[in-house]
């Protein structure tokens, strides 16, 4: 059974073990250690860690397409944001008549815009089940349409990167418009409850943190399973030599489309977990710079390892929190320098530094030098 195969891999077990230990440790330190004690983990920190974990899930999604399929998506922020907006719409509907204007059905910003009734695409979002479905379907559908068009016409490499960037840019402009019905510039915010639990209570925050951790574990196992399956090997073959794989009789565009859609859905889930923990979703999540930052997390952690993506996401975001708190001006310098240093000096990322699979990498590099064309595509 392909889904259980990851559990026989050492790296997956180590990853899951570390993740589980971390989740339990944070929970224990938050609940059992009294407040004020130096080892106590505050609700704020739990919330922050939950945010990092949702980023980590997003990074895993990007690594799946970039590391194993060779598609550098500069628009994964769009899928993340769509998932986030689906969750945000559910949370908006949960506010009910507790908004500033006290309207029983319409969110505040619609009352403010003098709208009479909910637009059709807001219907059903009062039901958690429907909203969760949309968290998967909205990014999935966009990825399906976009991927179908792109892969069918064999748009790959930098061209694909650039049009994914254009896609998220266009969506950002669209969501900035008030007429779209998603709160325009301000986005969706002022959430109160999720599934009946108050978002402001510490217990809910811990719950969301743990849920994100579980989602990350599941997402990781799913990606690992895909990668380790026969499909995964076709993916790697596509990445390394697309034309050759095609000539071998594989329908490359179908493989690409399937993996791309799965990745988009994972990104959507990450967004949905991100929004209740941050308390706001606005069009800035669509900005191209955010999408390209995700790619940096993966590059820093190490491509085509999945756990590297998680490490990268946690490292960069922790650094971001520290930097923006201490010296905000320096953050962009540091981020820019990271981009340059990682790509020039650390092409295998932190995972490469860890010394894992060093031998295999060496062997692959040998292959690349033998076949220059294939090698170019492999690293691309």
């Amino acid at each position: 059974m392909w889904l259980t195969r990851p559990f026989s891999e050492r790296s997956t077990l180590i990853f899951l073990g570390v993740l589980l230990a971390a989740l339990l440790l944070v929970t224990a330190l938050h609940l059992a250690v009294p407040r004020g004690h130096p080892l106590h983990v505050t609700a704020y920190t739990v919330n922050l860690l939950g945010k990092y974990l949702s980023y980590a899930l997003l990074a895993v999604a990007v690594d799946l397409v970039w590391g194993y399929l060779g598609i550098l998506s500069l628009g994964h922020g769009a899928f993340f944001a769509l998932g986030g907006y689906a969750m945000g719409m559910y949370l908006m509907r949960q506010i009910g008549d507790r908004g500033v204007y006290g309207h029983p059905e319409l969110p505040d910003f619609m009352v403010f815009l003098n709208w009479d009734s909910l637009p059709w695409y807001w219907l059903g979002f009062d039901m958690a089940g429907f909203a969760l479905l949309m968290v998967l379907l909205a990014p999935g559908a966009l990825a399906l349409v976009f991927g179908f068009l792109a892969f069918r016409s064999r748009v790959t490499g930098v061209y694909l990167s650039i049009i994914t960037q254009a896609l998220t840019f266009a969506l950002m402009l669209a969501f900035f418009r008030n007429e779209m019905g998603f709160g325009g510039n301000n986005g969706l915010t002022d959430f109160r409850d999720i599934l009946g639990f108050s978002l402001r209570s510490d217990a809910t925050r811990l719950g969301l943190f743990l849920a994100t951790g579980v989602a990350l574990a599941l997402g990781y196992v799913l990606c690992r399973a895909i990668v380790a399956s026969k499909l995964g090997r076709v993916c790697v073959a596509t990445r390394d030599a697309e034309a050759r794989t095609r000539f071998l009789g594989y329908r490359v565009e179908r493989v690409q489309l399937f993996v791309f859609v799965v990745s988009a859905m994972l990104a959507g889930v990450a967004g949905a977990l991100y929004v209740p923990q941050v308390g706001i979703i606005n069009p800035s999540e669509f900005s191209p710079i955010f999408s390209i930052e995700i790619v940096l997390w993966v590059a820093l952690g190490g491509r085509a390892t999945l756990y590297g993506a998680v490490i990268g996401a946690l490292l960069v975001n922790y650094a971001k929190t520290v930097f923006t708190g201490v010296m905000p001006d320096a953050w962009l310098f540091a981020l820019g320098a990271l981009f340059v240093l990682v790509t020039v000096f650390l092409p295998r990322g932190v995972a490469g530094l860890l010394g894992y699979r060093v031998k295999r990498l060496k062997r692959r590099r040998q292959d690349e030098e033998d076949t220059p064309t294939a090698g170019r595509e492999a690293t691309a």
Binding site: L72, F146, L149, A150, R152, S153, R154, V155, G157, V158, Y159, S161, I162, I163, Q165, A166, L167, F169, A170, L173, A174, F176, R177, P288, I289, I292, V295, L296, A299, D329, L332, F333, L335, G336, A337, L338, F339, V340, V342, T343, V344, P347, R376, T379, A380
Partner: protein, 559 residues
């Protein structure tokens, strides 16, 4: 003259006042005449400056107003109108409001504010404020209703008698739709005397509007085809009027005008589209070289544009008061600064990532972040103002419905010149030949003795330098700030990809057509939606033709 403000005007007034009859002031008059004679001698002894001569005439003109006969006052007003004195307008409007007054000393003043007992006044000749004066010290120069009408017309036309062409033009412009029966007469005379064709045309149009308002059918012929809004207002009024013949003629004239307006609007959209397109071409053409020719994705391209714009700003700071010279010097300077930055990027980052386009993309994105933050930290996170030199501001008025802003036209021309220059370099120089050779087959070119690394550096410097030129041009159109480049990078990539990578002509066509498409969509979709539509269009277009409008043919395309 201002050193002796008291005796001389008083004397003049006394001599003129004798006619009007102020019998109790005989002695004063005599003394004053004496003073006048003495002073006049003194003035003649010095060389009279033009200002004093002008003042002397001015005083005579004003003296003529202070008579009891309204008929004579009318003539005096006429004289002022024809006098070509630049203060005439102020005097006449002050006279109309009853603010042109005379002090007991005979001095002409303009009352600035006639509330209360003490009024602030200013000298009618020099315009200098003279402090407050009691109303008892002042005599008003009275007018009647007939004079009021005459004054109103006179104020309208006073500038038409001026020797200053700009004043005449402005005045003629104001008259459109404001002509009444009193003005019609003098206007017809003025048209005959007027030397400037434009003023003549304006006056004729103003008269025609007046004649149409009077119900004259022949006037419609003159208004037919005029694009001025006033002419349209007059025509639509006539079209709605009771006179059937006039109404139908007016309607057909309105139709003609509507057609012409549509054409002009289309021309304007095209102009704005081409202007936007030229900006896109400028921003993208450097990218077309580095991306298209070298296969290198430079995400810091936008920041090189920004550097060019900041160079313009810096040049203007270095040469205060000479924005035009600074702008011209900024063209080579911007090219150099951006080219040097480009070489630094190529040597420092890109050369290590040869053959790994996606990594190059990420690394140069990092460079772009660093450059942005550098500008924010070193200069300022706020926008800087770049001055537009005089010869670039203003607009070229084609007709009443169409005027083309000069700065956009200069940028459009600049874009075409830059494009032509690049084409020349690529087609006619040794460097261009080598660049094309390396693009087509790097290994083969190297074996033929071309130093590929040197070609890489020069190509990248050229592409970056052109980005700097784009920045210099953009500084004239948009705000210069740290985010300037970011706003153009995605658009530039779209242009290059749309036009076909590695094809400069494709970039030109793609840039201009995207600009025009955007402007055509904007009126009915709004600016943001138009941009979204264009982006979606390109995304779909790439699916249909992955290699752009003008794909490269042959083996080079397989890379």
């Amino acid at each position: 003259m201002r050193n002796f403000p008291l005796p001389w005007p008083a004397a003049v007034r006394a001599s003129a006042g004798g006619v009007a009859g102020h019998p109790g002031r005989g002695l004063v008059m005599l003394l004053s005449l004496l003073t006048l004679w003495l002073l006049g001698g003194a003035v003649q002894a010095q060389t009279p400056t033009p200002e004093t001569a002008a003042d002397a005439t001015a005083i005579q003109l004003l003296e003529a107003l202070d008579v009891s006969s309204y008929a004579e006052k009318g003539e005096a007003i006429e004289a002022i109108v024809r006098s070509d004195d630049e203060r005439a307008r102020d005097w006449l409007s002050a006279l109309l409001d009853g603010r042109l007054q005379r002090t007991d000393e005979g001095r002409f003043v303009v009352v600035l504010d006639n509330i209360g007992r003490h009024w602030p006044v200013a000298d009618a000749l020099s315009g200098e404020p003279l402090g407050e004066m009691s109303r008892r010290e002042l005599d008003r120069i009275g007018i009647n209703n007939a004079l009021r009408n005459q004054l109103r017309s006179a104020i309208a036309v006073v500038d038409l008698y001026s020797a200053d062409l700009a004043l005449r033009r402005a005045s003629a412009e104001r008259l459109l739709g404001e002509v009444d029966a009193d003005l019609a007469g003098p206007l017809s005379e003025l048209i005959e005397q007027e030397s400037d064709a434009r003023v003549r045309e304006r006056l004729a149009l103003a008269l025609a509007i007046h004649r149409l308002e009077q119900g004259e059918l022949a006037a419609i012929d003159h208004l037919d085809g005029s694009l001025h809004p006033r002419a349209r207002v007059a025509l639509s009024r006539a079209a709605a009027g009771a006179d059937d013949e006039l109404a139908s003629a007016a309607r057909s004239a309105l139709n003609d005008i509507e057609q012409k307006l549509k054409l002009n609007r289309a021309a304007e959209t095209l102009y704005f589209g081409l202007s936007l397109g030229s900006v896109l071409v400028l921003a993208a053409i450097g990218l077309a070289i580095t991306f298209g020719v070298m296969g290198v994705i430079n995400m810091a391209h936008g920041e090189l544009i920004m550097l060019g714009a900041y160079t313009t700003w810096a040049m203007q700071q270095l040469l205060p008061g000479q924005p035009g010279l600074a702008l011209i010097l900024a063209v080579p300077a911007g090219f150099l600064v951006a080219a040097l930055a480009g070489i630094a990027i190529e040597r420092g980052v890109i050369q290590f990532l040869k053959g790994r386009p996606l990594e190059t993309l990420l690394a140069t994105f990092g460079v772009s972040l660093i450059l942005q933050q550098l500008v924010r930290t070193v200069i300022s996170p706020l926008n800087r103002t770049v001055v537009t030199p005089e010869w670039m501001s203003g607009s070229l008025v084609v007709n009443d419905a169409l005027s083309l802003t000069l700065n956009r036209m200069v940028v459009l021309g600049f874009a075409l010149v830059v494009f032509a220059g690049l084409m020349l370099i690529m087609r006619r120089t040794r460097l261009g030949l080598e660049v094309r050779a390396v693009t087509q087959n790097r290994a083969m070119a190297r074996s033929m003795g071309i130093r590929a690394t040197r070609v890489d550096i020069l190509t990248f410097a050229l592409g970056s330098g052109v980005a700097g030129l784009a920045g210099v041009a953009l500084s004239q159109l948009t705000n210069v700030g740290p985010n300037l480049g970011q706003n153009y990078i995605i658009d530039s990539f779209m242009v290059v990809v749309f036009g076909g990578v590695g094809n400069l002509w494709g970039t030109l066509v793609a840039g201009l057509s995207l600009g025009v498409i955007n402007q055509v969509l904007e009126p009915w979709a709004g600016a943001v939606l138009a941009k979204i539509i264009v982006l979606v269009f390109i995304i779909l277009f790439i699916q249909k033709r992955p290699r752009g409008l003008f794909p490269q043919k042959g083996r080079a395309a397989e890379g």
